[in-house]
Symmetry: C3
Subunit: 430 residues, 3 copies
C-alpha cells in the first residue's frame, strides 16, 4: 500500500466516523466532531455564549436534538430522525407530540420530486419554525388523514463551538485554511473538507521549517467565520491568503474559486500548482455566495481567501441531499486533494523575489559545472532551462512565481534552479 | 394594441411624413423637417448665416431646389426631380435649360450597375458642380444623341438651420443625443434616427426626475455638429456622454460603436443594457468615419459620443440608395430602438458608487426580512444574489455598473437590490 | 531578372562562398568569414586577446584546425575533417596520431540515429575534450577492433575576432542587428543571417537619410556578444532596439521572437510590418535561450533585442546537422528576409508622435483638395481613411504606430497620410 493509499484510507476512515454525527451550527454534534478531529490535531476549542454580538450578527441559541418523528395512525414511525438525521430541518423548534392533519403536516415537509429517493437537507437557523425532510416517495406514501408529530429538540442559550489549530512559522504572516463543521450526515459537503484540512495540518506540522504560519479553522458556516473574525481582528490582518476546503471527495476535477482580488499570491500559487497537477483543473472568478470565503473577502476585510473544490457549490445533483453519502466520496480523491493543497503551500513557501549577482549578460554556468559541457544539441533540459529563466527574470522585481508562470515549467523545477543558483552565489533572494 | 405597438406606429407615421421632404445640409427641407419634429417637441430653432466661421469650416451658402429634369428629344421628362428627390445631386448648382450632347450628359450621371433598379444618393456640398442620380436601367435607356437639362436651384447666402431640445435634470452634466437631418428621401439613414430621438426626448421629458440633463440635436451631418460645437464650447464641456442615433429602423440587430475612449460610462452603460436586451447585439471599436460621433470625439473635444445603429454605416446594400425607402424600416424595430436607448439611460441614471455601512463580513439580511429564511437550497434567487453582489463590491470604489458587469445580472436587478439595501441602511450611495 | 531575384542570387552566392569555411568561436575561419563580408561592407575588425575578462566570462584560447581523421586498420580515412568540417567536434583538443580500441573511440563519437545520413554539429568550447561527429550509418560501419585517430588542432592563446559596421544617422540612438559567425558549414544557421545582415547594411547605407544610427555585429555566438557588451557599455545604452538575424533562408514563414519587454518599439514595428507582409507570420514571447538576444536582454542591460527567424531555434530536424546545407536555403527566401527587415526599419524610421493643429472637430480636408469632393459613397479610400485615423489620434500622445495598429491600415499608408497632413499644416510631428 503506497503512502497515498494509506492517507486516502485514513481520510475516508475519519469521514466514516464523522458521518453519523448530527451537526448543526451549534450543539453537541459540533463538539463531537471537534473531539474526533482533536484526536489527530491538538485543537484549541472555543465556546462563545449565545447572544454574543459578532459583527452584524448575534450568536444564536444552541440547538440539540433528542428525537424527532412522524407517526401514522397505526402508531408506526414513518419518518424517524434516528434513521437519518437529515429528516429533521436543522434548528427545528420543539413540538410536543400532537395530532396534526395531513394538509398541515405537508406544509412542514420538504422533498425533491426530481430525485424521489433522496432526502433533501434544509435549515432554518434564524427563523423559528420546524419541519421534516423526506424522500419524495415517502411523502407520496403519507396518505393517512392525520399524523402524530414530535420534535424533541432543545433550543436555548448555550454556546457556539469551534476549533482552531495554529502552526507557527518563521513569519507572523499567516496562511488560513477553513472547513465548515455544521452539516449533518453529508460527506462531500462538509466531511471531505474537515478530513482534508486535518491531514494538511498534520503534514505541515511534521515539517521542520515553515516560512509562513498556518491557521486551521473548523467552524460552523457563516456564523462561525463571522464569530472568528469578530474575535480576531488583529490576527485577521496578518492573513496573507488561504482557502476554504469543501467538496473534495467526489470524482470531479479541481476548481479554484479565486479570491475577490483575483490575482493575489494565493490565486497565483493555486493556479500554478493545480495547472501542473495530475487532474483536470479550472479556475473561476469570485462570486459572493458559496462558503466562508464570502466573509473573509467582504469589503471591510478583503482577506484573499479562495476556495478549493471538486464538486461545485450547488452545481451537482447530490449537493445537500442524502445522496451525498459515504458512497459519494473516495479515498484516492481525498488523498489527492491533500497533495494539491500541499503543492499550493509549496509554491507559497518557495516563492521569492530574485536579484542576479551577475546581471550583465548570462553568467558562465559551464565553468561552475552546472551546465552541460557539450554544445549544439537543441534545448537544454528542464533544470538548465529553469536556471536560464530565473537568471533572466532576476532583476529584483520578479519572483520565482513569475518565472514559473512565464516559463511554463513546474514551480518545483524553478525552485530547484533558484536554490542551485543561490548556492553558486549567482542570485540573491528576498 | 400594446404600448410598444402604438409607439412603433407613431414613429413610422413620423417617418412617413418626413419622407417626401427634400433635405440637404441647408435649406427649406431642413426647416420643414424641424417644423414636423417641433409638433412633438418644443424645439429651439437656430439659424446660422452662410459665411460664419465654425471651427475649421465655413457655413456654406443655402441651397434650395424648385425643379430639375432631363428631357429627351421628344420633350419628355425622362429624369424628374419631382418624381424622386434623389435624382438631383445635392447642392447641384443651377443650370438654365439647355441642350447637351449625350456624352457630356453621361459625365453628370451617377448610377449603380450592381443594383440596376436603385437610384444612388450623391452630394457635392463643397465643390460647385451639378449632376443627376438615376437607376442604371434609366441610364441605359438614354440613347438619344442629345438631351435637354435644367437644374432650377438657388445656391446663395442664407442660413444653416438646426433644432435643439434641452431637458434639465438635477445635475448640469449632460447626456447628448444627436440625429442628422440632412438626407433627402432616405428612411433608415436618417429618418429612423430623427424619429427615435424624438420619441426618446418625449419619454424622458415625461419623467418626474432626471439626474442628468439631456440635450437632443437635430442637425445636418458634419457641418451641423461642427457648427454646434463652435457655438457651444462651454456646454460641450459638460457633456458626460451620448450617442448619435442612426439607421435604427431596419431588421438588423443593434451595433454599439464605442467612443474613442472605448470604456467610458456611456460605453459601459450601452454594452450592459444592450447585451441584456431582447435582440442580438455587437459592440465595435471606434473608427473616425461614420456620423457626427467623429466631431465630438475629435482630439480637441474628446467628448465620449458613441453611435447606436442597426444597419451599419456603408455596410448594407440599401445604404444611400432609393432602396432605403419606406418599405425598408419597420415599426417594431423603431419602437424597440427607443426601448434600447431608454434602457441605456436607465443604467446611466441608476449607477452609483456604493459603500457598505456594515462592511465587516456580510450583514445579516435574514433578520431584516430581505433574505430567504430556509437554508440548504442551491443558489438564492436573482434579487438576493444581486444584494450579495452589491454588498461584496460596496467598498466605496466600485459602482452598480461594476456589480452588473461582474455578476452578469441585469442592471435593473442590481439597481433594485441597491435600493433595498439603501432602505435598510446597509449601504450608502454617492 | 527582378531586383528581388538579383538580390536573392547575390545573397545565395555569399552563402556559397562562406559555406566551406570552418568557423568556430575563434580562429582563422572567423577571420576568413569577416574578410568575405568585408568585400561588401567596410567592416571594422576587432581582435580581443585570449584571457581577457569579459563580464562573467573569459575570452578562451584560439582554436584552429589543420586536419583530423579516423583511419581503419587498412589505413583508410573513414572519417575525414577535410571531407566535412562538421566531422570534428568544435574546439577538440589535439590528439597525436594513435591507435585506439573501438570501444574507446565510440565514447568520442556523436551521431543521430533518427537521421542516419546526417552528421550532427557538436561543440565543446569550455571543457577540454575531443570528438568526432559522424552519420549514424558511418558509425555502424565502424566494425574494426581498433582505429587510428588524429586531431591536428591548435588550442592556444590568440584572439577572438569580430566585425562591426556602424552607419550614423541623425540621432545617436541606435538600432542593432547581430548575426553570429561561429557555426561551420551550416547554411540556415548561421550563413543566412550573415548574408541578410550584410544586405540590410548595404541597403541602409545607400539611403540618403536615416533618423536612427545603425550598428551591425558579426560576432561569435554568446562569447561574442558578451565581449562586445563588455567593451561597449556606453554604446549599448544608446541602443533603442534591434534583432538577431538567424535561420532566414529556409522555406518557413517568419517568426518574431519578442524582446524581454515584449511591447517595445522594435516589437511593435516588427509585428506591424510582418503582419502586413506577403508571408505567414507568427510572434512568440521571449525565452532566455536561443541566440544573442539572451545577452542583450539580460537583467543588467535589458536592451530590447528580438530575433527574426524562419526556422526556429532547435525546432526543425535539419537544425545543427549536415542537412542544413546549401540545398536547405533559397534565394527568394533570403531576398524576402531582407525586405522584411527593411519594412521593420521603415516603421521605426517613420514613426512619430502626432499633434493636430486643428484639433477641434475634423479639419475640412475637402477645401484643401485632399478629400474626395463627391459625398454619399460608402467608405473613403485607404489614404483618406488613413488621414482620418491620424487626425483622430493626433492628440500629442499617440503615434503613427498607434494609428497603424488601431486602424489595421498598412504603416506606409498611415505614414503617407501623415506626410500629406503635415504638408498642409494640419498636424505637427515630433
Amino acid at each position: 500500500m503506497s503512502a497515498g493509499e494509506a492517507r486516502g484510507r485514513e481520510l475516508l476512515e475519519l469521514v466514516r466516523e464523522l458521518y453519523p454525527v448530527c451537526r448543526s451550527i451549534t450543539g453537541d454534534g459540533v463538539r463531537e466532531t471537534l473531539r474526533l478531529v482533536a484526536r489527530k490535531l491538538p485543537l484549541e476549542l472555543h465556546e462563545v455564549p449565545s447572544g454574543t454580538r459578532v459583527l452584524d450578527w448575534t450568536v444564536p441559541d444552541e440547538w440539540n436534538v433528542r428525537d424527532a418523528w412522524i407517526k401514522n395512525l397505526a402508531g408506526e414511525r414513518v419518518v424517524d430522525f434516528r434513521h437519518h438525521n437529515l429528516h429533521l430541518v436543522s434548528y427545528s423548534e420543539p413540538v410536543a407530540p400532537r395530532r396534526i392533519a395531513r394538509a398541515e403536516l405537508l406544509e412542514h415537509l420538504h422533498s425533491l420530486p426530481a430525485h424521489p429517493d433522496w432526502i433533501p437537507y434544509r435549515t432554518s437557523y434564524y427563523q423559528r419554525s420546524w419541519g421534516f425532510c423526506v424522500s419524495h416517495k415517502q411523502l407520496e406514501s403519507l396518505v393517512d388523514p392525520e399524523y402524530e408529530v414530535c420534535v424533541d429538540t432543545r433550543l436555548a442559550p448555550g454556546h457556539l463551538s469551534y476549533g482552531e489549530y495554529f502552526l507557527p512559522g518563521e513569519r507572523d504572516d499567516e496562511i488560513l485554511f477553513s472547513a465548515h463543521v455544521c452539516h449533518p450526515s453529508l460527506c462531500d459537503d462538509n466531511l471531505s473538507g474537515i478530513a482534508v484540512a486535518s491531514a494538511v495540518a498534520q503534514a505541515l506540522s511534521a515539517r521542520s521549517a515553515r516560512r509562513f504560519s498556518y491557521r486551521f479553522l473548523f467552524i460552523p458556516g457563516t456564523i462561525g467565520s463571522i464569530t472568528w473574525l469578530a474575535r480576531n481582528r488583529e490576527r485577521a490582518a496578518r492573513i496573507r491568503g488561504g482557502m476554504t476546503l469543501v467538496c473534495l471527495g467526489d470524482e470531479r476535477g479541481f476548481t479554484w474559486k479565486r479570491t475577490f482580488a483575483g490575482r493575489s499570491a494565493i490565486d497565483r500559487a493555486a493556479e500554478l500548482a493545480l495547472a501542473r497537477g495530475p487532474e483536470p483543473f479550472e479556475a473561476i472568478d469570485f462570486f459572493p455566495y458559496g462558503y466562508d470565503e464570502r466573509q473573509f473577502n467582504s469589503p471591510g476585510f478583503r482577506i484573499p481567501i479562495g476556495s478549493l473544490m471538486r464538486g461545485r457549490h450547488g452545481r451537482f445533483d447530490e449537493y445537500h441531499t442524502s445522496a451525498d453519502s459515504l458512497e459519494f466520496v473516495r479515498a484516492p480523491q481525498l488523498a489527492q486533494a491533500v497533495e494539491a493543497v500541499l503543492a499550493i503551500v509549496d509554491v507559497l513557501e518557495g516563492d521569492e523575489r530574485v536579484r542576479s549577482l551577475a546581471p550583465f549578460g548570462e553568467p558562465q554556468l559551464g565553468r561552475r559545472g552546472i551546465y552541460r559541457a557539450m554544445g549544439g544539441e537543441s534545448d537544454p533540459e528542464a533544470l538548465q532551462l529553469a536556471m536560464l529563466w530565473v537568471l533572466s527574470l532576476a532583476d529584483g522585481e520578479h519572483t520565482l512565481v513569475d518565472a514559473a508562470e512565464r516559463s511554463g515549467l513546474p514551480f518545483a523545477t524553478i525552485r530547484s534552479a533558484a536554490t542551485l543558483l543561490e548556492r553558486h552565489e549567482l542570485i540573491q533572494v528576498s
